[in-house]
């Protein structure tokens, strides 16, 4: 059966997606799983449509690649929640929805009479997911939580970056991608409960907590060993081991590779192969050649500090001579556990991803372009998970939903539009 002919795992469900940039990904994931996701935007378009990068580098509401990527697999309508008509329409939509996702500041929807209390009276089975920086309660619900501040508070920032400079954030903003993913997973937990009981519920997602979990063993370093891991550039600090500072990223001829000497079966085969390869170029020091890799323990006592230093220097010199592509190709052949630090360009060229059909081309009629997206990462053997459609234009499905489903007439739509309601 072809993927498109398979049933989608979430085919029966309807999602109302009221989120801004703090929650886009949740609806995208549910949409890829086959739910009918309707993005509800303010009449002038979601502010997230202004987030770069833009297609062709041209700032335009239609061209935000960030918005397009996060809002694929959704239909789109406009609705002004500030107006009484808009609120009545939202309730009508909520009555026929299974999920509602929102990322307004805590209390905002309540203030409009659209909080969980009101909506659950309209539809007791509704699963409402609220995504906020710090959650709905505690001392900080009204604090502003931009990406950088959340990374800082999660402790992830403190352990990332060079020792002689301020801590640094992971690449580009993605705190709310983690929060959106957490929101999708938890919404499906609630769906399971509803299937058994008929009850909906309210889910309170805190981006702060979603990120704190990501630095997992960090909090336990303090709890168990009273140790504060610190940033060390390309190195990682460990505690309770003999060589606490381990280099993990190594410069090579045209970039960087990730490598660390492992013990055990994972290390034995690859370390032996790497030593052989280095030796063939005259770069393996004697101490390295004499190691019995099958019993090697990098923290064990067989090496002196000096030998350990020599081995690290030799590795650095060896990697410097080769490109990341050479190193990775040979690593795959000889089972050396070494990986390139890929650029976005390297990723697009990776033959492994191509062989796995990991890209999909999506037609964007509004741009006169076909864009290449990473395909969703979940592959079901007996159900489909894919990008269902390109992200909607502002109000693209107003007629489909308002006329086709809610039964408004064409004249009603004109009125709603003139009054700034849709």
């Amino acid at each position: 059966m072809s993927a498109s002919a398979m049933e989608s795992p979430l085919a029966p469900y309807r999602v109302l997606d009221l989120t801004g940039e703090k929650g886009f990904l949740c609806g995208r994931i549910l949409g890829d799983f086959g739910a009918d996701v309707i993005k509800v935007e303010p009449p002038r378009g979601d502010p997230g449509r202004r987030i770069p990068p833009f297609h062709g580098g041209i700032a335009d509401l239609k061209r935000s690649l960030y918005w397009l990527a996060c809002n694929a697999s959704k239909r789109g309508i406009t609705l002004n929640l500030q107006s009484p008509d808009g609120r009545a329409i939202l309730k009508a939509l909520a009555r026929r929805a299974d999920f509602l996702i929102e990322s307004f500041p805590p209390g905002y929807l309540d203030g409009l009479g659209l909080g969980y209390g009101s909506l659950s009276r309209v539809n007791p089975g509704l699963i409402m997911t609220s995504i906020t920086p710090f959650g709905q309660d505690g001392p900080w619900p009204d604090y502003k939580g931009c990406d950088l501040a959340l990374w800082a508070l999660s402790s992830y920032l403190y352990v990332t970056g060079d020792e002689d400079r301020p801590p640094v954030m992971p690449g580009l903003p993605q705190a709310y991608l983690h929060a959106g993913l957490e929101a999708a997973s938890s919404a499906l937990v609630a769906l399971h409960h509803r299937r058994l009981t008929g009850e909906g519920q309210w889910i309170d997602v805190s981006a702060h907590q979603a990120l704190a979990v990501i630095s997992l063993q960090n909090q336990q370093y303090w709890d168990l060993a009273r140790f504060n891991p610190r940033r060390a550039g390309a190195f990682q600090h460990l505690s309770g081991v003999r060589w606490p500072l381990q280099r993990r990223l190594w410069p090579c001829r045209d970039g960087f590779v990730a490598f660390v000497l492992f013990s055990g079966r994972l290390g034995a085969e690859g370390n032996r192969a790497l030593t052989g390869w280095m030796d063939s170029e005259g770069l393996a020091p004697e101490c390295m050649k004499s190691i019995d890799w099958s019993t090697f323990d990098p923290q064990g006592s067989e090496l002196t500090d000096e030998e350990q230093g020599l081995m690290m220097e030799a590795l650095a010199a060896f990697f410097k001579r080769h490109t990341k592509e050479e190193l990775y190709r040979t690593a795959v052949e000889r089972r050396i556990v070494l990986y390139p630090c890929n650029t976005t360009e390297d990723i697009l060229r990776d033959p492994h991803l191509q062989a796995r059909n990991a890209w999909t081309r999506i037609d964007h009629d509004q741009l006169g372009a076909t864009l290449t997206y990473p395909r969703p990462c979940v592959r079901f053997s007996d159900a489909s998970c894919d990008i269902r459609r390109r992200a909607p234009l502002v109000g693209e499905h107003n007629r489909e939903i308002y006329q086709g489903e809610l039964g408004f007439s064409r004249d009603d739509l004109v009125l709603l539009q003139r009054n700034g309601i849709i």
Binding site: F134, Y143, L148, Q217, C341, T344, F380
Partner: protein, 403 residues
Amino acid sequence: MRKALDDIKIADFTWYVAGPLCVRYLADYGARVIHVETARRLDGVRKLPPYKDNTPGINRSGFFHNYNCNKLGITLNLEHPRARDLAAALVRWADVVAESFGPGVMDDLGLGYEAVSRIRPDIIMISLSSKGQTGPHASLPAVGMHLAALSGFMEITGWPDRDPSLLYGAYTDSIAGRFGAAALLAALDHRSRTGRGQHIDLSQYEAGLQFLAPPLIDCASSGRVLGRNGNRHTFAVPHGVYPCQGDDRWCAIAVFTDGEWAALCRTMGQPSWIDDDRYATFLSRKSHEEEVDRLVARWTAEHTAEEVMATLQAAGVSAGLVATAEDLHRDPQLKARQHFTALEHPEIGRSTYDSLGSRLSRTPAGLDRAAPILGQDNYHVFTQIFGLSDEEFADLAGQGVFD
């Protein structure tokens, strides 16, 4: 109180990070999990710090603990034929089989999808691997840092004039683990309607790419390659991490609007900067970004990170102190939301576990049980759940079935 997933049973063959994390997500929401290990080939994170009191030991690693709480822990030497019978009983018991070995390993153990679906036709199996079950590079092993490098995160993290900075821990494992939980829940819903199970192939590499979709789409269409940019942001100035009083103390500050800039200037006691030609507009701030950074840093250096955060947040500016591991444990928001829970462990005593980032109003997650020491629940699981007599259990133990 009932938990949402009370009726779901999971046979958990995963190890390292992504797989255990995926299963723990469901366990926290109530799924009953039997986690299978073997002493003959230990889960690598049992041998990684942090260890309780810095004393290494396979039952002392917080790294292992935080991913494996709320699970029953058993050991099975799957190379032993009788262990395979018990594994089959485990599969028959389960709704879900989770594994995170390299492609083909479960097949070799007689527990590939074909085999487990013969044992239980509606089984849902997830294989959470580094690069997926297929493809030319699938069989090369990897851990989190390799995959964060492969999926592009290392290359874009750090300073433009420096080498990339290492991303801590197992960054893409967290992404893949949560995607895995969502995928399993979707498959369970699908099964409830169709009666059919299935196999899920989840590549951690591809999970990571979901978070880099915008620059990947951009690179494919325009050739633009995303580089390192420190803490700079395309549409916020200042946007950085600023030094505060104390040793290696910092506060992150981000200003997106003119209103936030005005609030920052008033908080810094410099109202004249609000209308200063050099800083009054976004574009002027962007063109004086280094100078703006210096001015902000001069002010933050006179205060503690806690003060900077509190006064700026009170003024409506996004700010967050750069927390150390120790700071996490005194974060008032995490405390109020009961993010951390202490659980009693048979070998290391009380230790702290994270909770999830989501709270369900009717069926909240909960932490009930510390991670097991190796083989802790063998007797209970095999005699109470799988019905072995005491004699059979002792006999099999003597044969090395539970090694």
